[in-house]
């Protein structure tokens, strides 16, 4: 297996890079969408049960089914993969962002207003920083999930390490079939764990000093 990897190291690196790039891009989009929706829900609390129902039902839809639904609209390739991964990445972040933003003490928001902060400033400088650790926990769940979903999306010619898993499947019986699938699977697990570590570090750096423990 070692020779196999050394022979194809450039292809492996390209696939790994594409995989991580797809996941990170999707998670960044997902974070923006989820936080925006969560801010909306905090302003209109009546939407909360609806948002929770959408996120629970959304997580139930198998990713392969969503990919099938998207194909007529987005076609084979990167777009379908990005849209599908972004959809699933949004849901855990949305749930956590709602919990986090609503968990901020109402008295604190009132003091922020009392100090003369405008509504958007109070949101950006008080509410979001206080909710950030909870939102980040949602982002970590999202990244782990997205790494696996991105692998499935390779079936519709999405980018990333999933390509090698399907190569292994089609070459069944061939001498490199297991090498392809095993290398890709291990690479996905290792990258997922590395990204998780990076997010923990990011949490250390980006958590407001006042609430750091």
């Amino acid at each position: 297996m070692w020779d196999f990897i050394v022979d194809r190291r450039s292809q492996l690196l390209i696939n790994a890079f594409n995989h991580v790039y797809l996941v990170l891009l999707a998670v960044v989009f997902a974070t923006i969408i989820a936080v925006a929706l969560a801010v909306l829900v905090t302003r209109m609390p009546r939407l909360e049960p609806l948002a929770n129902a959408v996120s629970a039902i959304g997580l139930t839809i198998p990713s392969f089914a969503l990919i099938g639904l998207l194909l007529p609209a987005t076609g084979l390739g990167d777009t379908t993969a990005l849209v599908a991964v972004t959809f699933y990445a949004t849901l855990p972040i949305l749930r956590n962002a709602i919990v986090g933003l609503q968990g901020v003490d109402a008295n604190l928001m009132e003091s922020a207003r009392g100090m003369g902060l405008s509504e958007p400033a109070a949101l950006l400088r008080v509410r979001l920083p206080l909710a950030w650790p909870v939102i980040l926990a949602g982002i970590r769940v999202s990244v782990q999930m997205s790494m696996g979903i991105a692998a499935i999306a390779a079936y519709v010619l999405g980018p990333g390490l999933g390509v090698w898993i399907y190569t292994g499947l089609t070459q069944i019986g061939g001498k490199n079939a297991v090498n392809y699938a095993l290398t890709a699977t291990i690479a996905i697990v290792v990258l997922a764990l590395l990204l998780d570590l990076l997010l923990i570090l990011l949490g250390r750096v980006t958590t407001s000093k006042g609430i750091r423990v």
């Binding site: 049960p49 039902i57 198998p62 692998a151 519709v156 999933g162």
Partner: protein, 261 residues
């Protein structure tokens, strides 16, 4: 996901069932019924060509639904039969020290892509096991993680003073387990089982890659032939079945909850 659970559960407890949970409990069967009726209506009036018709013939579709349900049920039964006793074992005084390691491995294992596990098992076991049992093995391995984790955290979350009180009124260790610890941990364990059901029914849609059947077959046929009606029909059927299974999980969760909590 562990981070989001406690706060959500507390919120649900405070307001009885919770508006969101009620929407989901009543809404899901309605969505599934309406969706399936709409599919049946579309199937009868749609202008399908020969290839599309043969991919969506009712006989084949029912067979694949049945295969999918069977994969889900068998794998889930194995998951519960293995993960719950194992979780109980790992919280007993003598083996407690192993629990953090197992929870760590279970969390890490979640990062393994389902499709990778399925394909690898197929490549390794090809010939030794039928596609069906290979798929069952992959689905069960994947589903064990959340149930094991929740069984351990659920049992660890039981207030030790209650266990002591149980011993104090003369219950044996076994009686304390069955009459105090397990009933109190049931909500957390059931949440894990529901998560596992969702994972298993979703992953079962990939089983057709390794000739184990299931509704993924319609979907892959649609993608391979590049026929929009077939791939969308397959996707809708997979999604409806997954929603139905998730709903069954919710109902089981409600039934299993002890009356006192």
């Amino acid at each position: 996901m562990a981070e989001t659970r406690p706060s959500k559960r507390v919120a649900a407890k405070r307001s009885g069932l919770g508006a969101g949970a009620a929407i989901e409990l009543l809404g899901i069967p309605i969505i599934v019924l309406v969706g399936f009726a709409a599919y049946a209506w579309w199937h009868s009036v749609a202008d399908l060509d020969f290839v599309e018709k043969s991919s969506l013939a009712w006989g084949d579709v029912w067979l694949q639904i049945w295969q999918h349900v069977r994969l889900t049920l068998v794998a889930s039964a194995i998951v519960v039969a293995v993960a719950v006793p194992l979780g109980i074992l790992l919280t007993r005084p003598r083996t407690k020290f192993l629990a953090p390691g197992v929870v760590g491995v279970a969390n890490g294992g979640q990062a393994a892509p389902a499709i990778g596990l399925l394909v690898l098992l197929f490549l390794w076991l090809n010939g030794d096991l039928s596609g069906f049992w290979t798929a069952i093995l992959a689905l069960a391995l994947y589903g064990i993680l959340p149930v094991l984790r929740n069984t351990i955290t659920g049992l660890q979350g039981v207030d030790p003073t209650l266990v002591e009180a149980g011993r104090g009124i003369g219950l044996s260790g076994r009686a304390v387990l069955f009459r105090i610890e397990l009933p109190l941990a049931i909500p957390v364990i059931m949440a894990g089982i529901r998560t596992a059901l969702i994972l298993v029914v979703g992953t079962a849609s990939l089983a057709s890659f390794i000739n184990a059947g299931g509704l993924g077959g319609v979907l892959t046929a649609g993608i391979t032939l590049y026929r929009y009606p077939v791939m969308v029909a397959g996707a809708v059927l997979v999604a409806l079945l997954a929603l139905l299974v998730e709903w069954v999980g919710r109902v089981l969760e409600l039934i299993a909850r002890p009356k006192g909590i």
